[in-house]
Amino acid sequence: MEKLLALSKVNKRFGGVVAAKDVDMEVYPGEIHGLIGPNGAGKTTMLNLISGITPVDSGTITFLGRNITKMKAHNRARMGLGRTFQTPRFLDRSDIEENILLANDLNERISFFKSFVSPKSKNFIPHLDELTRVADFSFYLEDDISSLTYGQRKMLEIIRSMITNPKLILVDEPAAGLNNVERDRVMTLLRLAAHERGIGIVLIEHSMDMIMDCCQNITVLNFGEVIACGSPQEVSNNEAVIEAYLGRRKDA
């Protein structure tokens, strides 16, 4: 199958701290790819490098067969590279509709003049409704973002990303701070995205159950280096991984 995303020998340093060292990684369409590692292993940095928020020092990133290493974040987003954050990032001072419309702009791509004549598209509503039903919650489109609970905001962020019709979504700890019910809904959403729509997903998550449950492949990072890569079984039996996790526990 055609590769969606490929990292090759990606390096990044912040002063003396190595955040990524010769990282290789591949993600395929319809795959949920876990990215795990102890705290400070450089997972979020990796997502920032892929989405273009931080530039890489060296190495290449290929997305949809195109070298995007030097491409700006917004152009990567326009190519279909979505992203969610550890703490959801919305337009805090706008209502939910505006937030979703912003995502919809990325999907519909209407010109300024067309949007000046008929400003508010309604085309996204069935899609939004469908996804919200999958996530099993509800809201009023005209309400403020602050009317949603934390868990709902995290789910809405994934939904917003799916509304942009992306090829790949980078998901940063979607289940952190969520209860078990909400966590299951997040997993349902991600599975729907990957398995039914063929979207590739890079998933950072601390909950091992969730990772083992829904990932086809896992990359394990420690101090910015890939120490293991493979299926959940391979990774969980890997000596280096056990050492990284248990070794840490011994130190602590």
Partner: protein, 292 residues
């Protein structure tokens, strides 16, 4: 002859640069601690000049008493200013509110000064009288040398306090981050207030230094813009950069008078804009990136 003229211009430029540097440092301290660009800093500077004028000329205080009283007043100003302009707005959803509020404060301070001292400029006698005659008609007023001396002292003190000593760095960290403040056991309110006090005192003293060279009037507030220019040329949020940038601004401005009197300010701000085009982060600034 020419060398003499250049020397005079250099001394004047450096002493004005010192004044701008004092203003710039005042701003940088606040930018680093609370991330706010204070548009009223120039008015605090002007207020410093007026307070010292009132104490020396109107109340006939000897210089040492005057300095102590003035410092106490500056401390009060700093505290009041923080509680009026920064503290109520620190958690505002609109980042622009604090800037606009400092703008309001600058208008208020200017008007209050006008109500107390009138809008006619007043004259402050030199702190140190006399002229140094180097040769022929190459003369330098002692006041300029005095400014350079005191200015260097203040700059060194601030530099040591905030860039080298643990206390200063801790203070800045604590003002930015309540977690760091907890570790230090100092409430954020104290560190923030201290930063405002030091900043207000600095520019207050700056106002005192510059007052004999110019008429004391509400237009002294516009000195802030040169301080800003120096800070941006030097680098955003860096004390060393701000000082070097400000000295540069002073010297450029002084030498610009050789060619043009009318465009003196335009020359300075054009240099600023050129620097911005070539190096948006200034000469010593590093890119400040947001943690994701």
């Amino acid at each position: 002859m020419n060398i003499g003229l250049y020397l005079q211009l250099l001394v004047i430029g450096l002493s004005m640069g010192m004044i701008y540097a004092i203003l710039a440092m005042g701003i940088v301290l606040l930018v680093r601690a609370v991330g706010v660009l204070n548009f009223a800093q120039g008015e605090l500077f002007m207020l410093g000049a007026y307070v010292c004028y009132a104490l020396t000329v109107q109340l006939h205080m000897p210089i040492y008493v005057m300095l102590i009283v003035a410092l106490l007043i500056f401390v009060l100003f700093g505290t009041l200013f923080m509680f009026a302009v920064y503290w109520p707005l620190r958690n505002s959803k609109w980042p622009a509110t604090i800037i606009i509020s400092t703008l309001g404060a600058s208008v208020v301070l200017k008007e209050v000064v006008k109500l107390i001292w009138g809008s006619v400029p007043v004259v402050q006698p030199p702190i140190i009288k006399g002229v140094l005659v180097l040769w022929g008609n190459v003369r330098i007023e002692y006041q300029y040398l005095f400014i350079i001396g005191i200015g260097s002292l203040l700059i060194t003190a601030v530099f040591l306090l905030f860039d080298k000593l643990f206390l200063g760095r801790a203070m800045q960290a604590a003002a930015q981050d309540s977690y760091a403040a907890q570790l230090l056991g100092i409430p954020t309110i104290v560190t923030t207030a201290l930063t405002y006090i030091i900043s207000a005192s600095l520019v207050g003293v700056g106002g005192w230094l510059v007052s004999p060279l110019f008429l004391v009037s509400t237009s002294l507030g516009s000195f802030l813009l040169k301080g800003f220019a120096g800070m941006v040329i030097g680098g955003l949020g860096d004390v060393k950069g701000a000082v070097i940038g400000s000295l540069l601004v002073g010297v450029i401005e002084s030498f610009a008078t050789l060619f043009t009197a009318t465009y003196k300010d335009a020359v300075v701000f054009s240099v600023l804009i050129i620097v911005l085009i070539v190096r948006p982060t200034g000469f010593f600034g590093q890119k400040i990136s947001e943690k994701v």
